[in-house]
């Protein structure tokens, strides 16, 4: 897809589609998403709430509740296998072993009744077959790695004895436990304070250098994404609407949605205008598979083609892809 891919990606997702069967009908949460991840790079996924970021990532490892969820199409190539076709047993080895996952809410993502140490050691024993003692040693190392002081004492604490930031570090430690090739972080800092968020981001940057794993970083904070990523993927209503190298995207956003998102942010020199720009309207309910552009109702540039045809990702050069019929740079339809 993307031109000039030098190395073989560690993860290659093509045309992933996931739906939820609910009482009110089918929700089309992920509508044919393709992306790849190269060794050691950090891919940010941004988009507003409900755009399918989490569902996409959880589909990869079938972490969704099935039913109501159903992965209707797609392949997830990892290590020469299609994860979606893997036997449950083999998939289990990938989960936590090869691919680590960090979830959004550190408050609820740890099991409240087990000691932190136990929760870190669990995957170590499961995947690496470490003994209790070895696992404990490794757990201490991991906690030290993520910067928790007096780690060996804190192994016997319960999650509620940790602050939010520390819990998120524990989550990271768990995800890193088995030296995964890929780390998927689903909004890992959203629930945290800015200063703590800065700590975590700093930590991830450091770990990346040290361990060199590939990372998918889900966020809705364009600021965070700007600081850490190599590439950015913007999602809207279950589609990828724009995809580019990070500098490219911020310098030259091509999709009206991306542009609008960037515009809503308050700027440094607030002297300029008194009011923020906002995107009117609501994201669509995903009750049917869209055959028009899902952003069209909120789009200032929408024209008749947008109502009739859903744009596919189009290569705009240097790996910059966009799914839009309107060329914002020219101010005319493509």
């Amino acid at each position: 897809m993307l031109g000039g891919r030098a190395i073989k990606p560690v993860l290659d997702v093509t045309d992933l589609r996931t739906v939820f069967h609910t009482q009110d009908g089918t929700v089309h949460a992920v509508n044919g998403i393709s992306f790849y991840l190269e060794e050691g790079e950090l891919l940010s996924v941004v988009g507003e709430s409900g755009s399918g970021k989490s569902v996409t990532m959880m589909s990869l490892l079938k972490l969704l509740p099935i039913p109501p969820a159903e992965i209707v199409a797609g392949t997830v190539e990892f290590d020469g296998n299609d994860l979606l076709k893997l036997e449950p047993e083999a998939l289990r080895q990938v989960r936590g072993g090869d691919i680590g996952f960090i979830f959004q809410d550190p408050m609820t993502s740890l099991n409240p009744v087990f000691k932190v140490g136990f929760q870190i050691m669990e995957p170590l024993k499961e995947h690496l077959g470490l003994s209790e003692k070895e696992a404990r040693k490794r757990a201490v190392e991991l906690l030290e790695l993520v910067g928790i002081p007096s780690a060996s004492d804190r192994l016997d604490d319960y999650p509620h004895q940790f602050s939010g930031g520390m819990r998120q570090r524990v989550m990271i430690a768990i995800a890193l436990a088995c030296d995964p090739k890929i780390l998927i972080a689903d909004e890992p800092t959203t629930a945290l304070d800015v200063t703590i968020q800065a700590q975590i981001i700093e930590l991830v940057k450091k770990l990346r250098q040290k361990l060199g794993m590939a990372i998918v970083w889900i966020t809705h904070d364009l600021g965070v994404a700007a600081g850490i990523s190599d590439r950015i993927m913007v999602m809207y209503a279950g589609f990828v609407v724009e995809h580019a190298k990070v500098k490219d995207l911020y310098r030259r956003p091509l999709h009206p949605y991306t542009r609008a998102l960037l515009a809503t942010l308050p700027t440094d020199d607030e002297e300029g205008e008194d009011r923020l720009k906002s995107i009117s309207g609501l994201p669509p309910a995903l009750h049917e598979y869209p055959n028009s552009c899902p952003f069209a109702p909120r789009c200032e540039h929408a024209f008749d083609r947008c109502q009739k045809e859903n744009p596919l990702l189009m290569e705009m050069g240097d790996g910059h892809q966009v799914a839009c019929w309107w060329d914002v740079e020219k101010g005319a339809p493509r």
């Binding site: 990938v94 072993g97 609820t108 993502s109 740890l110 099991n111 995947h127 436990a177």
Partner: protein, 336 residues
């Protein structure tokens, strides 16, 4: 936690005293008379004499005081005596005496504990052992046929009174098939394999009836609690760590789901001692429940008062235990 427990215990004392007094007043007001069970051929004057000799009709405050003294002073002293610690003059002790048996109430109660624990207690244990897996599977496979069937059976088990299920069992297993005795032998002394088999046989039916009833309630709680926890975020975390479903459900979810269920179970324990009246009656297990009902029927005031008060203590105590267990099981809860 210790502080909390101590404080609750401290508060329990006045509560219990009030409870004991209220029970006393209720029993005092209650109609009925210990001579009511005597044949009509016994003339009224003789009845009056008997009543007098029992101490019926004393002013309530005196009677209450005597009972309180018996319960809180003389009985403990007596039992201390039994283990070899003598305080005061043993012959002075007026223990609480039952009207009907003219024997100490505590001895009667003590005699009943084995069968109560064996039958009713065991049925509670079995009920729990049946209920937990049913609850877990029902919740894990919500709306599956297993779940539907489980719901159905537990509702039936809950709605059919035990006097009916008990009798049905007797008709089938004792009368028709002759497998199990319909009468529980409390004097059976388990000292060999054969007597053990006998003991098991005589326990099968009452335990089954009660276990069904207990299981149907507990399994509902278990199911609800599991359902609550299965959708929690940490479950996803466990799966993402690559834990097997077995570990996810039986370690992570179960441990959390058990917290409320265990307290429900603890709250149910006092009913072990009082709750199985009808079943005890049907199979003639003659445990504490039957003792209570006999006491009530015979207006055996000291027996009823003492038994109900012991139940009250158990209720208050297990309320406390339930709360404490909650605190122990759930590390987030810290009472202080």
């Amino acid at each position: 936690m210790l502080n909390y427990t101590l404080r609750r215990l401290l508060f329990a004392i006045p509560t219990l005293l009030v409870i004991s007094f209220i029970i006393f007043v209720i029993l005092d007001l209650a109609p009925g008379d210990p001579t009511g069970q005597l044949p009509l051929t016994i003339p009224a004057e003789v009845r009056a004499k008997i009543r007098e000799s029992l101490g019926v009709g004393e002013p309530i405050h005196i009677a209450y005081f005597k009972w309180v003294r018996g319960f809180f002073v003389y009985e403990p002293l007596y039992w201390l005596d039994q283990i070899g610690i003598t305080i005061g003059d043993p012959s002075e002790r007026a223990r609480i005496i039952s009207y009907a048996t003219r024997g100490p109430v505590f001895d009667l109660i003590l005699e009943r504990i084995p069968q109560t624990l064996w039958v009713v207690g065991l049925s509670y244990v079995f009920g729990i052992l049946i209920a937990l897996p049913i609850g877990v599977i029902s919740a894990y496979k919500q709306y599956s046929w297993f779940d539907q069937l489980g719901t159905f059976i537990s509702m039936v088990g809950f709605s059919v009174p035990t006097f009916f299920t008990g009798l049905l069992m007797i008709v089938i297993f004792s009368v028709q098939l002759g497998w199990f005795p319909s009468v529980y032998d409390t004097t059976l002394d388990v000292n060999s394999w054969d007597t053990f088999i006998l003991q098991v046989k005589q326990m099968v039916m009452p335990v089954a009836v009660l276990a069904l009833y207990n299981a149907s309630q507990i399994s509902r709680f278990m199911r609800a609690s599991m359902l609550d926890n299965l959708t929690q975020d940490y479950v996803r975390t466990a799966r993402a760590k690559g834990m097997s479903e077995k570990v996810v459900v039986l370690t992570h979810v179960l441990r959390n789901s058990l917290i409320p269920v265990v307290t429900v179970i603890a709250l149910g324990v006092p009913t072990i001692f009082s709750g199985a009246i009808i079943t005890e009656q049907i199979f003639r297990v003659n445990g504490l429940g039957q003792l209570l009902i006999i006491g009530i029927q015979g207006s055996d005031f000291p027996l009823v008062q003492t038994l109900t008060f012991i139940f009250a203590i158990l209720i208050v105590l297990f309320n406390l235990i339930a709360d404490v267990i909650y605190g122990i099981l759930d590390p987030r809860i810290r009472y202080d």
